[in-house]
Amino acid sequence: MLGKFWKLYAAVVLFWVLCLEAAWLLAELYMPLVKTWTSGELGALTSDILVWLGVLFTLAVILIFFRRFFHALFWYELSLGEEKRGKQRFSQ
């Protein structure tokens, strides 16, 4: 079963790795930066909003990329199927 759908399964694992990597980058690089930028009375609220926007932006970029990726995978698989059927017809 893994053999038939391995490309799809690999794409899902890649998506997960990318999401975790992005979360790690946000936590290790972006959030400390936000904390240093924001200080004073409105610091906590500004920090919350900036973190929230950072998470949303990262998620949006990953989702847009993967939407295109899955569509590309589908059309590639379909063309592969067409090629296979063409070869079968030719050999018959």
Binding site: K4, V12, F74, E77
Partner: protein, 332 residues
């Protein structure tokens, strides 16, 4: 910790209720003429619809028994069950009384978040791996919660395309989430998800290939809403999204290929075709929506059971990924 024996007995009762009720309920639906064609069989047999209502009954039976013995659980049970029932009612209206437009359905399902909001069964700090809790005091209850309920309910509903695909994958997802909830010592959520797994498995035994009954929108919307409710109650939002990735990918593929919300009956070009074998093949039409099923059969036509096994294997993978994420979160 919840009393383990009564919890186990409640799961068994929920499973038995679904397992025993589904067949007579399916016969009743057949007599009432609430049926749908199984388009993936050569003779396109008529199959009773709306069978998923028994999943809601099973959840109510299991939860009712457990709450009777553990009254301190009643608030959680009331919030969870009300969410499920509201989503099921929307589905039943759509299946039986009046077909809803896609926008009406999405809007109506958001109402299922109301019981959780009214009973205050949420913590407005969703936890992200590495990042930690995000403070979303106002956004969480009024935007995030309704969005999560409607996205999960509709995504699970959209995955109900083949015999056993929704019930089978939901059982696997619920089992993984039960394990994750146990890891986080979220005993109430673990019970809710365990009961959901027991009930969907009871239904899967009647819905698997060749299906005796279809869940209908009433069943699949209710199951999706149950996942959302458990995620909100147990603060497992991100992990639930990871486990349900197959349903979410399918939903986003359909939405992005059609460019708008659309009902199954409103799709003019079917994404798949039935070819000799009988096997399911991808439609070559550019107008047909891209779906997970169409992606799986794009390079070669497959038998229906093979595609459903592929769905389940994908769900096992996403369950394992969610489990790994949970371990990261616990370690961090």
């Amino acid at each position: 910790m919840l009393p383990a024996f009564t919890a186990a007995l409640s799961l068994l009762l929920g499973f038995l209720a679904v397992e025993r009720l589904t067949e007579p309920w399916a016969r009743l639906m057949l007599r009432k003429g609430i049926c749908g064609r199984d388009v993936h069989k050569p003779d396109r047999p008529l199959i009773p619809e709306m069978g998923g209502v028994t999943i809601v009954v099973g959840l109510a039976v299991g939860m009712g028994f457990f709450t009777a013995l553990n009254p301190e659980f009643s608030l959680t049970a009331a919030a969870f069950l009300s969410t499920v029932v509201v989503a099921a009612v929307v589905g039943v209206v759509d299946d039986w009384l009046r077909p809803l437009s896609p926008l009406e359905k999405v809007a109506a399902v958001t109402l299922a978040a109301l019981p959780l909001l009214i009973l205050g069964m949420y913590t407005p700090y969703p936890v992200l791996p590495f990042v930690g809790g995000l403070r979303l005091t106002l956004i969480y209850p009024f935007i995030f919660m309704p969005l999560l309920v409607t996205v999960l309910a509709n995504s699970v509903n959209m995955l109900d395309v083949l015999n056993g695909s929704m019930a089978g994958t939901s059982t696997i997802s619920a089992l993984f989430l039960t394990l994750i909830a146990v890891l986080f010592s979220q005993w109430e959520t673990a019970f809710l998800l365990g009961l959901l797994a027991a009930c969907t498995y009871g239904f899967y035994r009647h819905n698997r290939y060749p299906a005796e009954v279809f869940p209908g929108d009433g069943g699949s919307l209710a199951v999706g809403a149950a996942f959302a409710a458990a995620a909100i109650i147990g603060r497992l939002e991100v992990l639930t999204l990871i486990v349900l990735l197959p349903a979410l990918i399918n939903g986003s593929l359909i939405l992005s290929s059609l460019g708008r919300l659309v009902e199954r009956r409103g799709i003019k070009e079917r994404p798949t075709l039935l070819v000799a074998g009988p096997r399911i093949a991808a439609s070559p039409s550019r107008q047909a929506p891209v779906t997970l099923t169409r992606l799986m059969v794009a390079s070669q036509p497959l038998r229906e059971e093979e595609v459903v096994r592929g769905f389940m294997a994908l769900n096992l993978l996403t369950g394992a990924l969610a489990l790994a994420t949970a371990l990261f979160m616990l370690g961090g």
